[in-house]
Symmetry: C2
Subunit: 418 residues, 2 copies
Amino acid sequence: MFQQRSSRLLSLLSTSCNRPFVAQRGASLRSRSARAYSIHADASVGNKILGIDPSKLTIEKTTTPKDLLPPEQLVFGRNFTDHMLSLEWTASQGWLPAKITPYQNLSLDPATCVFHYAFECFEGMKAYKDKDGNVRLFRPDRNMERMNKGAARIALPTFDPYAMIDLIGKFVKLDKRFIPDTRGYSLYLRPTLIGTQRTLGVGPPASALLYVIASPVGPYYPTGFKAINLEATDYAVRAWPGGVGDKKLGANYAPCIVPQMQAASRGFQQNLWLFGEEEYITEVGTMNLFVAIKNKETGKPELLTAPLDGTILEGVSRDSVLGLARERLEPKGWNVIERKVRMKEISDAADEGRLMEVFGTGTAVIVAPVRKISWKNKLVDCGLEDHVEAGPIAIQMKEWVEDIQTGKEEHPWSYQVI
Amino acid sequence: MFQQRSSRLLSLLSTSCNRPFVAQRGASLRSRSARAYSIHADASVGNKILGIDPSKLTIEKTTTPKDLLPPEQLVFGRNFTDHMLSLEWTASQGWLPAKITPYQNLSLDPATCVFHYAFECFEGMKAYKDKDGNVRLFRPDRNMERMNKGAARIALPTFDPYAMIDLIGKFVKLDKRFIPDTRGYSLYLRPTLIGTQRTLGVGPPASALLYVIASPVGPYYPTGFKAINLEATDYAVRAWPGGVGDKKLGANYAPCIVPQMQAASRGFQQNLWLFGEEEYITEVGTMNLFVAIKNKETGKPELLTAPLDGTILEGVSRDSVLGLARERLEPKGWNVIERKVRMKEISDAADEGRLMEVFGTGTAVIVAPVRKISWKNKLVDCGLEDHVEAGPIAIQMKEWVEDIQTGKEEHPWSYQVI
């Protein structure tokens, strides 16, 4: 079908690009066989169309406000606030004025391209209430930057991240009453961008919808940490060099469910994705993974995580943990290192008593301590004593991150909604 | 989020499976490094729920029938018939009775999992009118089998393929007036299966919608063949052993658009996906690829195509061309071979005058002859003389397949709707 559309493609591509942000950036990476992959996501639209103008926001308030649920009844992503934020985009007009409306169904033609070709990307971020009742977002610029990278990679429109943060702030303030003011509680925000073209030809969507919904959520561990057990997955591959596994695309999620169910059927809470002959550790379920280990030669403690080589998501929590570790653990004698880590290294360290702790990181959980990993018919013990549910680094990281998120510690990562 | 759901997962998995079809089949494949990947897509539901019962179909006819478009105005996948077929599924009840209704929008909660995690798979198939005015489908069992494999791989429900073919037949007969009765014209059918659970937790959808829409389409080449030029893509990778590139999932399509646009910006109608250091040819745009070549040693003609190793779609047209070639070309001295083919082999054969022809195969096009391939800053000439737009094998294959599709040749692949 491409043939029929190529003239439009060419006209799109022939105009110069004034995207304010990442649209012209490409990810350059190198596979283990040293082959270079690089894709410049420049499926950009021209310079005559509208960017997002937050001053044009219209607000239609609900006439039937919802009752607030008791905090203990909150389930992740099941209940939503009174309103939603949405912006339509067309290739000819650009971004149309943003609207806040009552939370409502989308009405879409069954031929809409999001149903057929997975033109969809999303973000996960949270809003918090601080001790003074102000609303705070945590590193929203990182989420918007990542969303733009994902959008550009699948030929969806990019946008000015700061205009979107402005709009998200207005939306969250309107539904502020849904943010519980207890530590550990927050409002999970789900910006979502979908292609809305109503034809079956496989090509760049000429229309799209960006919307944000919000779900009040409780702490992931309401009664304190609970360490999880992992099953290493070697029979399926989540992501590969030159692919899209480093983007927050819908496409990366549905294929992960069956391996997760298979791990669950054998009693493991998550699966651990390995890559290649070397069995490098990549992601755990939908989280990044950190390993605290004593160096075999020096005995010095090291905090390791996989590098951004295209096979792992650029987690905001991952980046926060890395940043805090470099700032606050290195002065205490730690080495903080992004490098490929073989599963065998972890297993050997466990056997030799050098494995200190292992934990996942993600927006929902902040950190998720790991007790054991099933790999090659053995159970690798990740260093937690039987009576504890988290190691000291995981506990420390959760505290540091939460202090910043809730404004207990003033930090540039915390964005106060005015 | 998996943790919260694992008890349901486990209860789903603990019941035995009575799926009539492919749900328990897995794809076993081997990467170039000889590592075995195998994923058994057994995310199945229990045996107490309803299968599809075509006798329960209800039909609500439109009160505003559409005007038929003049055949020359038909554009692939842009206009649809009066009606659509749909079936809802829930994990607790199974398949609810099928409905034929007027073609209409879907109304979905913005938290619906199809928008976030790409729980979606689809099929492309066609209905034809034969010389006696009967409606025919082409190998619908292959499409339903493939759809079940895709569904099972992303934890969507599978179904009895023959019940679905029965229902699709009823739907097509109702909208029969939309099938043009000129050779080359047909009714493109798009079965689509989406997850409809309205929560953001990442897990198997507890509800789904299977629907079929239909679009009358003209011949891909209204004025005769038009050979295409390809750009070999080595900076991005479509599929990987152990991944899902062999399934017809929405997830495989959006990431292909930017490389296609980049090829188009340089004047190439499609991109050719290479794989690995060896630069094996895999797919062209959204088609499979065939190469006709004279064997270097024997001089004997060979028809080559990539094997089903997990990195290419199991094309129905691919399988049809292979079958016909084995039946009708081998007796004429051809060897028909599924094997990995390096791009360099094609280039060398072109240089040595042994490259006879190259063509893509797919439902929309049947065959798409290739004139040149841009690879490593050279243009590989695929053997077509300047004044012709297709080679003899491509022309022959299109004729054989169309004869069967339209019932001119009676063949078990053609399924007459009763």
